[in-house]
């Protein structure tokens, strides 16, 4: 057993932090795409669009039912063998794609539950003044469902940030990949992984604060 090498750890911080933007970018891109896809899936599930509903069910079942790591390997190593035009897919794109599909399946179910939870009489009120179903969704239901679903969606976002670390298995040098390389060079595995753990931790804590602030803001309209 050796004493912790603090100088090494301090020196490592700026190096690793330079990879943080890539981690956050992948998570942000994944989250943005996943939100759009999840909303689509949720609306399909709620309105039971024939045909599409069955597809949505299958999609959600598959992406919830298999590990993210397996999905990433499938997209990055597997699919290009079958669909040759995908040979050019890089690790970052494959990660964003994997995160999008995987998390959209979970998020779709949260959004669906939030939509179903909106008081039905508001739907009738919107229809009674002549709104179309699309207008009703966009202007009345989705804004309220967003508020209900936000805490859960933020949790998924936090989970997604941590899941970007799997990108290193696709050869992407992001936060985790960089740590791995540094540790392999110095043999100070404990120090290196401790530093990266703390970095992830601080990022997630910061997000939790934003989450609280966001929830407060969204709830403003509903306070007596």
């Amino acid at each position: 057993m050796h004493a912790l090498d603090f100088d090494y750890m301090l020196g490592l911080v700026p190096i690793l932090l330079s990879y943080l933007p890539l981690t956050l970018e992948m998570a942000a891109a994944g989250m943005a795409c996943a939100l759009v896809l999840a909303c689509l899936l949720a609306v399909i599930r709620v309105t039971r669009v024939p045909g599409l509903n069955a597809f949505a069910l299958l999609f959600i079942s598959f992406f919830r039912g298999t590990p993210l790591l397996v999905q990433l390997f499938l997209f990055y190593y597997g699919l290009p063998q079958v669909l040759t035009f995908l040979v050019a897919i890089n690790g970052i794109t494959a990660t964003i794609l994997g995160l999008t599909l995987h998390f959209s399946a979970y998020m779709a179910e949260s959004i669906r539950a939030a939509i179903v939870g909106i008081d039905r009489s508001q739907t009738e009120a919107a229809l009674s003044i002549g709104m179309t179903r699309a207008q009703l969704m966009r202007r009345i239901v989705l804004p309220q469902a967003t508020r209900v679903a936000t805490p859960t969606l933020m949790n998924y976002f936090i989970d997604m940030i941590k899941s970007t670390s799997l990108a290193f298995t696709l050869g992407v040098t992001e936060l985790m990949g960089a740590t791995q390389k540094e540790a392999a060079g110095s043999f100070l595995y404990f120090e290196a992984f401790l530093v990266v753990a703390v970095i992830y931790w601080i990022v997630v804590e910061a997000l939790s604060w934003i989450q609280k602030w966001l929830e407060k803001r969204l709830n403003r309209a509903y306070q007596r």
Binding site: E124, A125, I129, Y222, Q223
Partner: protein, 248 residues
């Protein structure tokens, strides 16, 4: 101006009503009364296509169609010509009082925003809630919420406003302010059909009272006539019961 002909509605095997005929002129105020569960609300909802009638013909202004063959365009056109006031207010929880009133004008009638909000402010002024323009429904009393609900219906500039038991969910102290607003509308000759148990309101405001029982229109007459000399046995029974309850 508004005509229902042979309207039928059934839920599964249960026929709520059949062969309902009802017509009213511009500016006329009809109050529908009757025991609970006789299809009064369902009839009202059919006029707005919140329920799809299973048979019959519907005419509102220059719009006239067979309800079993209604196209999406006809339904939207019908809803633009009819406005609905709900028992539980049904305000949009994510919108302020002002936005609730303006929403239909902006989204459905495509009125420019500035103009829609100006008109919504006028309406809030008329319903006595100008100071609550930026309040969300959750912070309003039941009476205030229902007045916004009526304001939203007024903003639709509809040929007829349909009121579905507008005071039934209210705490007693808010009933008068809502009925007062409805009387104000009546004085301005707003065409309306009101389902309610407020007999005093019917007596004062209605041009015609329609008595419904078990899915049928039993009789209809001006309130003075219907309340003092009801012809049908069922009407007499109903009035005796409800008037006794109101006194007690």
């Amino acid at each position: 101006m508004i005509e229902l002909k042979g309207i039928r509605k059934q839920f599964g095997d249960h026929v709520v009503f059949d062969e309902i005929d009802l017509s009213l002129d511009r500016g006329e105020i009809i109050v529908i009364v009757g025991p609970s569960g006789t299809g009064k609300s369902t009839l009202l909802r059919c006029i707005n296509f919140l329920e799809t009638p299973d048979a019959g013909h519907l005419t509102v202004g220059d719009l006239s169609f067979d309800t079993t063959r209604a196209t999406q365009d006809q339904i939207l056109a019908l809803r633009r010509r009819t406005a609905f006031v709900f028992q539980n207010y049904a305000l949009f929880a994510n919108k302020t009082a002002l936005q609730n009133v303006a929403e239909g004008m902006i989204v459905v009638d495509r009125v420019p925003k500035a103009k829609a909000y100006a008109r919504a402010r006028e309406i809030l002024e008329r319903i006595g809630l100008a100071d609550k323009a930026d309040a969300y429904p959750a912070s309003l009393s039941g009476g205030q919420q229902q007045r916004v609900g009526i304001g939203r219906a007024m903003a639709a500039n509809a040929d007829v406003i349909l009121f579905d038991e507008p005071t039934s969910s209210l705490d007693p102290q808010w009933v008068e302010e809502v009925l007062g607003l409805m009387k104000q509308l009546a004085a301005e000759h707003q065409t309306m059909i009101v389902v309610t148990h407020e007999m005093q309101f019917a007596r004062e405001v209605a041009d015609r009272v329609v008595f419904m029982d078990q899915g049928r229109i039993i009789e209809q007459a001006p309130p003075a006539e219907l309340f003092s000399q009801p012809k049908d046995e069922r009407t007499q029974q109903f009035l005796r019961k409800i008037l006794a309850a109101n006194v007690g």
